[in-house]
Amino acid sequence: MSSLLDAFLGQWNYFLVILLMMIGFYAVIARGNMVKKMVGLNIFQTSVFMLYISMGKISEGTAPILTGDAATVYSNPLPHVLILTAIVVGVATTAVGYALIIRIQESFDTIEDDDIILLMEDETEDAQ
C-alpha cells in the first residue's frame, strides 16, 4: 500500500494532468455542439502541454535563463521550446476549426452534429 502511495506522491502531477485531459477528451467525443467540441479540444491540448512541461521540471531548479552562477540548476528548456511551437500551431488549427464551424452554420443553419446528420438523411431520401 505504501509503495502505491509513494508512486502517487512521486507522480501526482502527471495523474492530475491526465484527469484534465480526459475531461477535454470527453467533451470532444460526447458533445454534439461544435463550439463545445472546440473548447474541449482546447482543454485537451493545454493539458498535453502541462504533461510535457511537467517532464522538464527539476525540483529546486529555476527558469532556463542564464544567471552567470555556475551552481544554478536550470529546468530543461527543450520541452518549453516544443510547447511554444505547439501553442502557436494549436491556435492556427483552432482558427481553421472555427472557420469550418461558420461555414457549416451557413450551409445547414445549425452547429449540432445530430441535427446535421438528420438533415443529410432527409436529403438522401429526397434524392431517392
Binding site: 528548456p77 518549453h80 481553421v96 445549425t110
Partner: protein, 189 residues
C-alpha cells in the same frame, strides 16, 4: 513543499473550470471559462519554470483563442441543445484515462534531476548558449537557432492555416456560395 501546494491548488482550479465548462449550456460563458482555463494554465507554467510558455499561453491561449471563439459566437446560435450523459464516450474516456495513468507510472518521478530527458541534449544547450548564440535566455536560443528549422516549419503551418481560413470563409468564395445557396432556396421553394 510550497511548490507542491501551489501546484495542487492551481490544478484543482483547472479541474473545476474544465468540469464547469463541460456542464454549461450557454456557449458564451463556456468560452469565457476556456479563457480562464488558459490563464490559470499560464500561472501553472510559471510555477513549473516555463516562463516563455506561460506568456505565450496567456497571450495566445487566453487572448487570441478567446477572440476567435467570440467572433464565431457572433455568427452561430449561443445556446447548446440539452443532452444526456453519453455512456459510451464516458466509458472510452475513462478507459483511456486508466491506460494513460498506468503508462505514466513508468515515467521518472516528477522533478527528478536524473531523468533521461535531462541528460541528453539539454545540458549542451544550457552550457553552449552563452558562447554559441550569446543570448542568456536558453529557450530563445534553442527556438531561434539550435532548432530554427522547427520554427520555420511552424511558420509554414501558420501560413497554411491562414490560407485555409481565407478559402473557407474569405471574400473570394462568398459570391459563389451566395449564388449556390440562392439556387438551393429557389429549388426548395
Amino acid at each position: 513543499m510550497s511548490g507542491f501546494v501551489v501546484n495542487a491548488v492551481l490544478i484543482f482550479f483547472l479541474v473545476l473550470i474544465a468540469f464547469l465548462a463541460l456542464r454549461l449550456h450557454r456557449l458564451f460563458a463556456m468560452v469565457m471559462l476556456s479563457g480562464a482555463f488558459s490563464l490559470v494554465a499560464a500561472a501553472l507554467f510559471v510555477v513549473l519554470d516555463a516562463v516563455d510558455v506561460a506568456f505565450t499561453e496567456a497571450a495566445v491561449g487566453a487572448g487570441i483563442s478567446t477572440v476567435l471563439a467570440l467572433a464565431t459566437l457572433s455568427l452561430v446560435p449561443v445556446e447548446e441543445k440539452p443532452h444526456k450523459v453519453a455512456i459510451i464516450p464516458a466509458f472510452i474516456a475513462l478507459t483511456t484515462g486508466v491506460l494513460l495513468a498506468l503508462a505514466v507510472t513508468d515515467l521518472p518521478k516528477f522533478g527528478a534531476a536524473d531523468a533521461p530527458i535531462h541528460n541528453y541534449v539539454a545540458p549542451d544547450f544550457i552550457s553552449g548558449s552563452e558562447n554559441d548564440i550569446g543570448v542568456p535566455n536558453v529557450v530563445t536560443s534553442v527556438l531561434a537557432s539550435y532548432r530554427g528549422y522547427d520554427t520555420l516549419g511552424e511558420t509554414v503551418v501558420i501560413f497554411t492555416a491562414a490560407i485555409a481560413v481565407l478559402l473557407i470563409i474569405g471574400g473570394w468564395t462568398r459570391d459563389r456560395r451566395r449564388v449556390s445557396k440562392q439556387a438551393e432556396d429557389d429549388h426548395a421553394g
